[in-house]
Amino acid sequence: AQSVAQPEDQVNVAEGNPLTVKCTYSVSGNPYLFWYVQYPNRGLQFLLKYITGDNLVKGSYGFEAEFNKSQTSFHLKKPSALVSDSALYFCAVRTYNFNKFYFGSGTKLNVKP
């Protein structure tokens, strides 16, 4: 079975500090991993993805994520948080032979001024 876990319901960080939003996954086969962001009453926006190659992936709005195969993790990071980064973040996984994406339960990021 494929699954994604986001262990923190909420992450609080001060503006200007680095942020990390955690994601771990369980799949059969090589994973394709994705991060999405959702602002209130909006759809999900794609941030970045890992398919293969370099373990550090860079995406939109200064976000990056590190794929760690041994720890089955794909944590989202940003060196310096902005108040405007406050939103709901979702991690998702799929494998090549499945058309389904499996999503985590989401992590609410609060960036305080």
């Binding site: 319901d9 759809g43 979702f90 058309n99 994406f101 989401g106």
Partner: protein, 115 residues
Amino acid sequence: DVKVTQSSRYLVKRTGEKVFLECVQDMDHENMFWYRQDPGLGLRLIYFSYDVKMKEKGDIPEGYSVSREKKERFSLILESASTNQTSMYLCASRGTGTGGTGELFFGEGSRLTVL
């Protein structure tokens, strides 16, 4: 830019009513999906379609049906709405031209309240 359009952003319906949620994408994507989003549960797949007139059940298909008569349009139908179907419904699409590595593109969501 890919655009996925959900025609209704907010709907209020009564128990037992038939509800149609419409979704249209403009990128000629083969795959289309309907998800339901509830707090603390993330996104759960209701149905998806990989071609016109083709559909597959997702993880929570009970109480829902879908229709895909044209490639660009994927409709979610609640035959007899119930209060436990009050939720945010998200439509998404994905092409296959990237060798299967493409991401999902989402619409803005349809927030349904069933009274």
